[in-house]
């Protein structure tokens, strides 16, 4: 085995492949392995059921947020329809599993593919539109999908929704929070691995080129429209996989949760976490989910304490208020998000005590 390399105190890279390396030092590799082991071995046995539920929600949302970050952070497009794509994934999983009896292992990627196709359809306007015009075109996608989910009753069950069967993997039933924890985080690990490596390929570089200047990218010979569609497809694939897992986890799905609020929540995750950073999407998801659950806990406690009538009316908007405040504060004080905070903390440890 090689000796462990430390991080050099400057940029000494000679080859491009060193720039591309996922782990700059062997310590990174060791820590990643240790972290993954701790996650898979310790977390499910140390957490209470409620905590594990929150951890699972974080896992599912982080897959979807990662997809949105590929679209928004790496390709520079915007989608206000990500929540609806998430819903398409959940419904596709439900329809495949209930109507066609497809096994769980095949349902999740198939639901991702179905969502990718839907995402490509709603990504078509990106070939011509930019900025606010594109934002509103994707907002149209959100409303159209929501409408179809509710009103195409022969397929989606309308307001009744769909009840998914209990999944089983290789004959072993996946049940309870612990079972789902392993399924969700194994999927998340694969998806993160995929995203990290996608960004090292020509496709990832093309996305970044389009983000930085799409006209110049076209001049360099990157066909921007196919790549923008591809970005929509990849991003929707992630949303679809996350939606499928969510559908199985929640057992019964209706169109209600996949509203504009969910789409905005994903945008918030990506912005707070850090645009154009894989770890940022995960930081953002953890932050938003914990904020959500924390605020719910705070409002519940206050409501139970005081017996004042109508107190829930005054407290209900508090969550949205704090939520919005968090986003505004992040944009004002750390526009590059939690990933940048993490980088600053890391480098200040590394450079201490001589920070220059």
């Amino acid at each position: 085995m090689r000796t462990l390399r430390f991080r050099p105190c400057g940029n000494y890279k000679i080859h491009y492949r060193e720039e591309l390396a996922v782990f700059e030092t062997d310590f990174g590799r060791v820590w990643a392995a240790a972290g993954l082991t701790a996650l898979f071995v310790l977390v499910p046995w140390l957490s209470t059921p409620y905590l594990l539920y929150v951890v699972n929600l974080i896992g599912i949302s982080s897959i979807a947020a990662l997809g949105l970050n590929i679209l928004v952070g790496y390709t520079g497009l915007i989608s206000l329809g990500h929540g609806a794509f998430f819903g398409v994934g959940a419904y596709a999983a439900g329809i495949l599993a209930v109507t066609y009896g497809v096994p769980f292992l095949a349902v999740v990627p198939l639901a991702g593919l179905v969502t990718a196709v839907v995402g490509m359809v709603f990504g078509i306007p990106s070939g011509r539109l930019k900025g606010l015009y594109l934002t509103i075109a994707t907002l149209a996608g959100q409303f159209i999908i929501e409408y179809v989910l509710v009103h195409w009753e022969s397929v989606t069950g309308g307001t009744m929704g769909i009840t998914l069967p209990a999944p089983s993997l290789f004959g072993i039933p996946v049940a309870g929070d612990v079972g789902f924890f392993y399924v969700i985080y194994a999927t998340a690990a694969v998806m993160i691995f995929g995203a990290v490596n996608l960004m090292r390929t020509r496709y990832g570089r093309a996305f970044v080129a389009i983000r930085d200047n799409d006209r110049a990218a076209e001049g360099m010979g990157i066909p921007i429209f196919p790549y923008k569609l591809l970005s929509f497809a990849v991003s929707s694939f992630y949303a679809g996989v996350a939606g499928a897992l969510w559908g199985y986890y929640m057992i019964s799905i209706t169109a209600e949760p996949f509203n504009l609020g969910l789409s905005v929540e994903y945008i918030a995750m990506v912005i707070i976490g850090g645009l154009g950073s894989i770890s940022g999407a995960i930081f953002g998801t953890v932050f938003i989910t914990l904020l959500n659950e924390g605020l719910r806990w705070v409002t519940d406690t206050i409501m139970n304490m005081g017996g004042v009538a109508g107190v829930e009316l005054t407290l209900a908007p508090l969550r949205e208020f704090v939520f919005g405040l968090a986003i505004v504060l992040f944009i004002l004080f750390e526009p590059r998000g939690l990933a940048e905070v993490w980088r600053i903390v890391k480098s200040s440890f590394r450079l201490w005590p001589f920070s220059y």
């Binding site: 011509r128 015009y133 075109a137 907002l139 149209a140 409303f143 409408y147 009103h151 200047n213 001049g219």
Partner: protein, 160 residues
């Protein structure tokens, strides 16, 4: 809801609406602040270097936007009554109107508003009431695919 057609509230709404459109048409065309505002919208660094107080323009534009939205809220409240839960959906309905007409065109906002409003009412009446919320968006997407800066928006020529 509870008013017959041609009731004074509707007349007042039309008068207030046209008054504001006229006022803002003149404001953007002739007043110095209106011209500053258009210059900032067109090219912020260039406006800054020509001595436009960009931060003041931002503050002013937010103020004006909020004031006009407030007045339209007053008019709507008089006609329809207000309901907290419907307010956010009204806010969202503004976007297809503005985008359809083109972002930087007052005339476009009028025509966009007419198109979206009539489209909503006709689909609600003739096809199905549930369709009325999404038909504006469907129409918007198709129009944007043909005219990418809306019907009357300024076409930007991009250079690398």
């Amino acid at each position: 809801m509870g008013h017959r057609p041609g009731a004074p509230v509707y007349v007042a709404a039309v008068i207030i609406g046209s008054l504001f459109l006229l006022l803002f048409g003149l404001f953007f065309k002739f007043s110095s602040q209106g011209i500053y505002m258009r210059s900032v919208a067109d090219n912020q660094p260039a406006a800054l270097s020509l001595g436009v107080h960009v931060r003041r323009v931002f503050a002013l534009s937010w103020g004006i936007a909020a004031m006009v939205a407030g007045i339209s809220g007053i008019v709507m409240g008089i006609i329809n009554g207000i309901n907290v839960h419907e307010l956010s959906s009204i806010g969202l309905k503004v976007f297809p109107v503005v985008i359809l007409g083109g972002l930087d065109s007052i005339g476009g906002a009028i025509i966009g508003g007419l198109i979206i409003g009539l489209l909503e009412t006709f689909t609600g009446g003739y096809l199905s009431p549930s369709l009325r919320d999404i038909v504006p968006y469907v129409a918007l997407v198709f129009i944007l695919l043909v005219k990418r800066y809306g019907l009357f928006g300024l076409v930007e020529i991009e250079r690398v």
